[in-house]
Symmetry: C2
DNA sequence: TGCTAATAACTGACTGGTCAGTTATTTATT
DNA sequence: AATAAATAACTGACCAGTCAGTTATTAGCA
């Protein structure tokens, strides 16, 4: 370890990349150990700075988590939800498309990480839970409910309860991820998200088939 | 506050009910604040004893949680699972029955409490997660899969993937509870477990209908 | 081009508080 | 008196957040 010829600058002035570097370090540590068991000191070390510097960019430890949630939510543009709510016609192809998209997105571990951390931290940090709920759940679930309600009204699908059916649509994905990530079920076989999605779509399409007139 | 004439004995010797009293106190506190945010001192106070006394009955704080899980699991006798795996015929009525039973059980807040605490504590305490997985998940989910596989083999239901379909069967219940308990969705309307279960059964029964020969 | 403020980036020791688990002591029971 | 049960004070470790001081970088000036 020669210390004399270190070519790396000790500081990097105008470090606008720092907050993102802190978030990267925090995400990897939170994924490994969870939020509560990770200290700010650890985050700082992994980001290559001191603990004090973290507090130059984030007000508190919780603010780091808020930053992570916001960064993860950003790409989920309004476009997706807006398009769904204005949909007309048989909702089943749209549902299948949404499910395949969800499968693709949640098939990536990095996309599962933040929701899982939020899930764990929600009871201890209600404002984090509220943030996630308002930004993700309160937009996506009503959109699916509306899509289903429109399908029922138009007679395209069986006369189901739209709100509860939204749970039947998304529930299996949530369950699959939790069983895999939290309880380690089928860890050897991998997540097999595609296998789940296609099977689920098969059952759902048939289950929503409009009833014969009796 | 006269302290001289207290007729209550300060100690209650030979308290064989103590472990259960500690578990009761711990459960109510864990439900209110979560495991991590509850101190052993608080558990002791609510149980009406001192902190030191808790350690006469439980080796560690985690041992209290293990005790809670075991106490919650005990009533889930083998009978349920054994009966399912040996079932022959159309699995759909059996599935509906299982779902209605799950709905009844998980409709009670006290039955949701321990699983939710485990869900929250699983990442920090892998042995708790493993205990719950082995005692509950590894017995119930394969039982449902076997029931479905038997139904497929006998031509009673559509030719689905039994393991993945098990997620479609139980996923919505899990999702509903999590959305309600952790993210507080539909808190005003109550849990409405029956409404979910009946709607889910409708879709599931139709979705598993055997395909027409083509 | 050098030299000298000025300032932005950063450090690490420190504080105050919490809490799991231990132990010396006290109290009740037989 | 002997013993079991329970207490309360204590220990050691951890950690979020603070702050006085240090170092790198830039700007102004000669």
């Amino acid at each position: 370890m020669s210390s004399s010829d270190s070519p790396l600058p000790k500081f990097r002035r105008r470090a606008e990349a720092r907050p993102d570097e802190v978030l990267d370090a925090a995400l990897s540590l939170f994924m490994e150990q969870g939020f509560a068991r990770t200290s700010v000191e650890q985050v700082a070390r992994r980001a290559g700075i001191s603990k004090g510097a973290v507090y130059l960019y984030f007000e508190s430890k919780e603010a780091i988590l808020v930053g992570l949630v916001n960064r993860a939510i950003a790409p989920l543009s309004e476009v997706l939800f807006e398009n769904i709510t204005s949909f007309e016609g048989d909702p089943r192809p749209a549902l299948a498309q949404i499910l395949r998209l969800m499968g693709q997105v949640m098939g990536q571990q990095r996309n599962r990480a933040v929701p899982l951390i939020v899930l764990h931290e929600a009871p201890a940090a209600p404002n984090i839970a509220a943030l996630f709920r308002e930004a993700v759940l309160d937009r996506s679930i009503p959109a699916i409910s509306a899509l289903l309600a429109q399908g029922v009204a138009g007679g395209y699908i069986r006369s189901v309860d739209p709100e509860m059916t939204a749970r039947t649509v998304i529930g299996p994905i949530l369950a699959h991820i939790i069983l895999f990530e939290i309880f380690g079920i089928a860890k050897d076989d991998g997540l097999q998200m595609d296998r789940l999605i296609e099977n689920h779509i098969t059952i759902l399409m048939a289950g929503l088939e409009p009833q014969k007139e009796h």
